[in-house]
């Protein structure tokens, strides 16, 4: 019995020794990174992970952060909030990460939010929804940031364009899920400011396969344009249904759809559709004076040619969000180290950071830091995206 105990103890000591020496030798800075690598949003989560890994590899190639390499600890949220919560706790209490990147969707993000707030670990999310970085009934957001534009910013960009084009009486068609409703709420709220009125409002299920009834009803209210607010294939189906019904009204999609996939799914029916987007899709057309142009072209070069991700996941409007999240966090670690409070403050003080998705100016009140100048209106022409006239 005694000798067995001794063996066991010896074994444990040996494990602890190797464990300890390994982490001392590497001196790496760990970042937790979790996305929807499986589940319904895996087509968004998987390329996000690839880009996060690319950003880390590039940073390490350039010597790491203050001489220490970054290391991503990857997790798969499976689109499941409970799984995401478990992973977040694992990152914080077991892996002892300095910061967390992800998750992918607003729902999982909201589950993770109170956990990282309580533990005080800076978390840079790549989710679309605004409640992540809104206070009040949505809880505190001291440690939570997000790199994609707010829905509010995209709505403002779209409305500015509509006002310029004198398209002021519009019909609204949105998905009856949290993303669609969030967009619809912002549109209703911001419409008076831009002098825009709604001729009609219709909704559909995000998994519906035919929206002709809604479009037929919209047409009868004689709007000047149709705004559709949804992500996923439903947007392409709306474009095809509009073509089927012969509705000549201009169609505007939301900032979630600028993606070569949209054109592929909707085919010729997508021709002429316009939507707010990051500059990533029209980088080549940007004037040389655009301060983001160099950063974006470099990103596209890495993505397409060096890492060769484009064959499986062609670049879309979202591709840069993980890059921006990782590089902003790395920059903040360089300035303030890994002590959570100092790191959070450094992220919050990020100013004029030229990212792929925009120029970030964060403040304690604004944990996103992008304004409408980070977006452009793009249009589908000859099967590709161009800057809208």
């Amino acid at each position: 019995m005694n000798s067995r105990m001794a063996t066991l103890a010896g074994l444990m000591v040996a494990i602890f020794l190797t464990w300890g020496s390994a982490s001392i030798a590497a001196e790496e800075i760990r970042l937790g990174a979790f996305f929807d690598l499986s589940g319904p949003a895996s087509n968004i989560g998987t390329p996000t992970k690839l880009v996060a890994e690319m950003a880390v590899a590039e940073i390490n190639k350039a010597g790491g952060v203050a001489g220490r390499p970054l290391k991503l600890v990857i997790g798969d949220t499976e689109g499941n909030p409970a799984k995401a919560a478990t992973l977040a706790k694992k990152f914080i209490y077991q892996d002892k990460v300095a910061a967390i990147i992800g998750p992918t969707r607003t729902g999982t993000g909201m589950t993770v939010k109170p956990i990282v707030e309580k533990a005080g670990i800076p978390t840079f999310m790549t989710v679309g929804g605004d409640p992540i970085i809104m206070g009040g009934k949505y809880g505190s957001f001291e440690y939570v940031f997000k790199s994609p534009q707010r829905s509010e910013t995209a709505v403002k960009r779209l409305f500015t364009y509509l006002r310029d084009k004198k398209l002021e009486r519009v019909a609204l068609l949105y998905a009856a899920d949290s993303f669609g409703k969030d967009g619809a709420e912002w549109m209703e709220k911001l419409a008076p400011e831009f002098g825009i009125t709604f001729a009609a409002r219709e909704s559909f299920g995000p998994q519906d396969t035919d929206m002709t009834p809604q479009l037929t009803r919209l047409r009868n209210d004689a709007p000047q344009a149709v705004i559709c607010w949804t992500i996923g294939p439903a947007g392409a189906i709306v474009a095809k249904n509009r073509h089927q019904l012969g509705i000549e009204l201009p169609l505007f999609q939301c900032h979630g759809l600028p993606d070569p996939k949209y054109i592929e799914l909707a085919g010729a029916a997508s021709e002429g559709d316009r939507m707010p987007s990051t500059k990533l899709l029209v980088a080549a057309q940007l004037p040389d004076s655009d301060p983001q142009k160099k950063t974006i072209l470099n990103f596209i070069h890495l993505y397409d040619e060096v890492y060769d991700f484009d064959r499986q996941f062609p670049i879309n409007t979202h591709s840069g969000y993980a890059w921006d999240a990782v590089t902003i966090v790395a920059e903040a670690i360089r300035k303030a180290g890994t002590e959570p409070k100092a790191l959070r403050q450094a992220i919050e003080n990020t100013k004029d950071f030229v990212g792929v998705s925009g120029i970030y100016n964060l403040t304690p009140e604004d944990h996103n830091g992008l304004d409408i100048d980070s977006m452009v209106m793009v249009e589908v022409r000859d099967g590709g995206f161009v800057l809208a006239r």
């Binding site: 499986s38 895996s42 087509n43 559909f204 396969t209 009834p213 392409a236 012969g246 592929e264 499986q312």
Partner: protein, 293 residues
């Protein structure tokens, strides 16, 4: 609310028929296996996705022309159906319905995993059988693909009814369904019959997938989303009845469309499924189902 015009009403009806035909095709596949084994075969939803996947690969990987690609997709899905029975179901040597149903659920998850690996997680676009230009009828428009769906669904139903009522194979299938032991005594190979029924179900699912994915777009889980409605349609029609499956599908589709058009687009599913429940309260066996179970 303003009254819809006649043209608009016709458009709503067409929209309902579009969805209805899709649900009907999926419901038919559920019925075939139910009619020989008495179980709900949940791999049906993945055979639908597979039909679309095979068509996609036949067109773009092998560059086949459309008619050949369609035939290939249906055949490949039928073979997959057979493999599911032979490799997945038969080795269990069970005739406990609950065990078999759970087996199909597990197999369904496996099939979806394989599809995700083989074809990836992205949405794909499948071209329609013929040109995509809408046809005008009395001011309303309908896609040619929908007419193809109507035509081929009708053909499939007639073929199924003919097989089940007029051929020896159909007789054997019904015999195995009503009493597998007695069928074995008179020399019917139950395993072979079940495998054939899975092949037919696979073919139906594959046809459904190949026909509907040009409208819905294609991904590895597209069948799951449509399958739920197809399942509801099959129940509405009286599970197992071919005519009932078609009627149930079309009725569900039209109800949805009219609810979206006339009352509220946000609550159309609530309205459609509420009515479905109502029908089942009055006729628990479904529209065309036999009362004895």
């Amino acid at each position: 609310m303003n009254m819809p015009t006649l043209t608009d009403s016709l458009q709503f009806l067409f929209a309902g028929l579009t969805n209805g035909a899709i649900y009907a095709l999926i419901a038919l596949g559920f019925c075939v296996v139910h009619n020989t084994m008495g179980i709900v075969n949940f791999t049906q939803v993945d055979l639908v996705s597979l039909g679309g996947m095979f068509l996609y690969s036949a067109l773009f990987l092998f560059g086949l022309p459309m008619p050949l690609a369609l035939a290939g997709a249906v055949t490949a899905a039928a073979v997959t159906g057979m493999a599911v029975e032979r490799v997945g179901i038969r080795p269990s040597r069970s005739d406990n319905h609950l065990v078999l149903i759970f087996l199909t659920i597990g197999l369904s998850v496996i099939l979806r995993g394989i599809m995700k690996l083989a074809w990836g997680k992205n949405r794909m676009a499948v071209p329609p059988l013929t040109a995509d230009e809408p046809i005008r009828l009395f001011g309303a428009t309908i896609l040619p693909q929908i007419l193809w769906i109507f035509l081929l669904t009708a053909g499939a139903v007639l073929l199924l009814i003919w097989i089940f009522r007029r051929t020896t194979l159909g007789l054997c299938m019904r015999a195995v369904a009503s009493n597998a032991d007695a069928a074995a005594v008179v020399g019917i190979d139950g395993g072979r019959i079940r495998m054939i029924s899975f092949a037919i179900a696979g073919g139906m699912g594959g046809l459904a997938g190949a026909l509907v994915t040009p409208i819905t777009t294609l991904s590895y889980d597209v069948g799951v989303l449509l399958g739920l409605k197809g399942f509801a349609a099959a129940i509405l029609g009286g599970f197992g009845s071919f005519v009932g499956a078609v009627a149930g599908g079309v009725l569900l589709g039209v109800l949805e469309s009219l609810a979206a058009a006339g009352l509220s687009s946000a609550y159309k599913d609530v309205i459609a499924f509420g009515l479905l429940l109502l029908v089942l309260f009055i006729r628990p066996a479904g529209l065309f189902g036999s009362a004895k179970r």
